[in-house]
Symmetry: C2
Subunit: 68 residues, 2 copies
DNA sequence: CAATAATGTAAAGCTTACTTGACATTACAC
DNA sequence: GTGTAATGTCAAGTAAGCTTTACATTATTG
C-alpha cells in the first residue's frame, strides 16, 4: 500500500524515530509502513495522519476492492 | 473502536454475510469489527467505508492518541 | 577526516487480526 | 406452528502487524 509518509515526514523535518514515538509504535513499524511493506491498523493509520494534520485518505493511497 | 457499520448496513439492507463477501473477509470479522472487538486493518476499513459510499472518518469513530 | 545522527536491513518472537467450523438463538415468511 | 434466513457466540488455528535487538550503510555536522 502506497503512502506519502516519507514526504510528509520530511516536510515536517521529523525523523522516523520521532514519528514512531509520536504515534506510539516502534521505528521498525514506521519503516515497514513507509516502504509499503504492510497494511497498518486503522488506528495507527489514523494516528499517523493526525501527526501530519491530515486525514487518512490524504496520507495513504488506497485502492478499492473489486466487486464480485 | 466504535463505528456506524451496523446502522449503515441496515440502512442499505445488507446482511453481515453480504458485507463480508463484498469486502472480502469472513462474517466473523464483520461481527467482531461491528461490535468494536478489534481494530481492523486500514485496507479493510477502507473497503468497508467504500461499501457504504463513505470515507473512513465517516464510518469509524477514531480518537487521537495523546501527545507526549 | 572523524563523530554522530538518521536510515536500511534482517531475524526471532509476541500479539492480534482474521479464518473456519459448529451450534444456538432470534426474526421473519409460509 | 414450521421452515428458513439472519444474527450471536465460542473455540482453535493461521496469518500478519508490530516489537526488540543488533548491526550495517548513508547522511550530516564539526
Amino acid at each position: 500500500m502506497k503512502n506519502r509518509i516519507k514526504d510528509l515526514r520530511k516536510s515536517k523535518k521529523m525523523t522516523q524515530e520521532e514519528l514512531a514515538i509520536k504515534v506510539g509504535v516502534s521505528r521498525q513499524s514506521i519503516i515497514a509502513i513507509e516502504s509499503g511493506k504492510y497494511n497498518p491498523s486503522l488506528e495507527l493509520a489514523y494516528n499517523i495522519s493526525k501527526a501530519f494534520d491530515s486525514i487518512i485518505e490524504d496520507v495513504f493511497i488506497l485502492e478499492e476492492r473489486g466487486e464480485e
